[in-house]
Symmetry: C2
Subunit: 341 residues, 2 copies
């Protein structure tokens, strides 16, 4: 599989490409299935429909990897936190975590991971139907990113409830992070057993932590998960994507394969700091997809920066809902062609 | 004035300190005046009340500088865009800019700046009442940050309307930025003539632009404003605060005095890249104010990193509304004491 080889830094006939949120709202066929499901969470819970939307961008765009359609918040949901998606507000947990008793009341470890059976069913269906030359990426949210929702109860601009806990009661925050980490280890192991080819850990809210605290409250938990998986499944590549941490690059360590570079970090800087140790994934600014000219400028620049290889093309964050499908197709094709030369 | 001397890198008896948003909701006396004003915009329009809240943190905390109480959006408002502050949603412009005709319809240059007379009146009142050893900081939003509101019509998570314009129709975005820049030059000149001692330019949404485009769409406009002011008023120090640009530090240039370091950029990194050319301001993570212990850890570390001077203490972003006043007092006092040793 070209994609898996590229994750391990092996030579490939061209640099493979996929897009974060490639199974998403910019695709009319996704919107149809989503409407059929009724709501977003139903779609995550329905293996047949989740499989269908996972495969759509592979057919439509020719990306080199599919990514499991799901949501990072199914994990705290199955740990016992009631999850709603409120129109215009995004995800909401009715009863956020405020005490050790709240943590103790959550379902933990393998027991919580076992409740995510609809995810494993989805993976099995996808693997039956996905072309054998394409990889299937499974994923999880990083413990920190999951914890922000569990503590704030919803999306936040300031993360002030989490960060008040970080500075005033760090033990409590660590207790949450440790419990989530245990569940995620089993969750990703079960995704692997169900058939995924690659793991990606999304730390979408990495940039909410100041650089001097990022290792303690997020990075070390991701590395704990990576170490656990690598010891048992060394053939499964692990991608870590911490969004918005250009000031943390000097401190990156650990046993994973691919570092996902977000668009706020210049690829040349990431290459200088990390390119010899990790394969780099990314990092076109997603808004460039509004213009084929801006897309071309960036893809050619990335291809030039990464001309020695050890690269996977991607956006530097998720594709936006109002991007024209033909521009996404243009991006994928251009990445594959430009890296063949 | 200690504060002005520090901005120019001259030796001072201790390192001065102020806090972004120090005239704000964490102060009960601010909430009282705000209630009296009826709404936020009324408070900006009323020189007597705006003066009162500007002076409150100087009295209560002993900071070394007052910052004019106002809002960055009074500028586009006086350029002709109707501004509302909607509860829970923040600022809203009813008719965002979508075309050259919309830009042409805006009031520009000195004519727009003349309409901000309530700001200059506020400055005059403050200067009459502010202790002569304290500096008064005037401010503006950076053209880019102002433009994001003028184009999106409100706050945004993705900036996708602005960035669609950036990549698909950059000429139109430049036309907006140029027109705003012209107004801001006159606006800041008139603030200086009214009596401010220091200028700060806030680029609050700097981090929305990828590093390779930041100079073109934001930095160069701020430097144009700085050049204009420096040529006429070299005795007025200029602070530039671009929030969230650790990956841009290698490209920083221009004729200003103080670089405001946000909390996502380690002070040691800013010092290494910029410390010989600019005085550095910042940069405690504002959430550390929830804990005196976390505050102490950071202030001592900053004092140590910046022990050769050329530093102004501040937070790395605005103080949050639910911070205890005594913790803010503790921070200010500690900064002043620790740097005396």
């Amino acid at each position: 599989m070209i994609f898996v080889d590229a994750c391990f830094g092996k030579p490939t006939p061209y640099t493979p490409v996929w897009m974060m949120r490639q199974a998403g709202r910019y695709l009319p066929e996704y919107m149809e299935v989503r409407a059929k499901a009724g709501n977003f969470l139903n779609l995550c819970h329905n293996p047949e429909l989740a499989c269908e939307v996972t495969l759509q961008p592979v057919d439509r765009l020719g990306v080199d990897a599919a990514i499991l359609f799901s949501d990072i918040l199914v994990v705290p949901n199955e740990m016992g936190m009631k999850l709603d998606f409120v129109k215009g507000e995004g995800p909401v947990f009715e009863d956020p975590i405020i005490s050790q008793a709240d943590i103790d009341a959550l379902v933990g470890g393998e027991e919580a991971a076992n409740k995510l059976v609809y995810v494993y069913e989805t993976i099995k269906l996808i693997k039956e139907r996905l072309s054998h030359d394409k990889a299937l990426i499974g994923f999880t949210g990083a413990p920190w990113t999951l914890a922000t929702y569990m503590i704030e109860g919803q999306g936040t601009k300031t993360y002030n409830i989490c960060k008040k806990m970080m500075y005033s009661n760090p033990e409590l925050l660590h207790a949450i992070l440790a419990k989530v980490t245990e569940v995620v280890k089993f969750y990703m192991e079960k995704q692997i057993q169900a058939g995924i080819d690659v793991v990606q850990i999304f730390d979408s809210w990495a940039a909410a932590i100041e650089p001097s605290k990022y290792d303690e409250f997020s990075w070390k938990y991701m590395i704990e998960i990576a170490d656990y998986l690598k010891a048992k499944y060394p053939h499964i590549p692990i991608i870590i994507f911490p969004k918005g941490v250009p000031a943390f690059l000097d401190q990156v360590y650990g046993n994973f394969d691919v570092f996902g570079v977000d668009w706020s970090t210049p690829m040349a800087l990431a290459k200088e700091k990390l390119g010899s140790r990790y394969v780099l994934q990314g990092n076109m600014e997603p808004c460039r997809l509004y213009s084929q000219e801006a897309t071309k400028e960036c893809v050619e620049s990335l291809a030039n920066t990464m001309k020695e290889g050890r690269h996977i093309f991607n956006l530097g964050h998720g594709i936006l809902p109002d991007v024209p499908v033909e521009n996404a197709q243009y991006f994928v094709k251009l990445c594959q062609e430009v890296s063949k030369r």
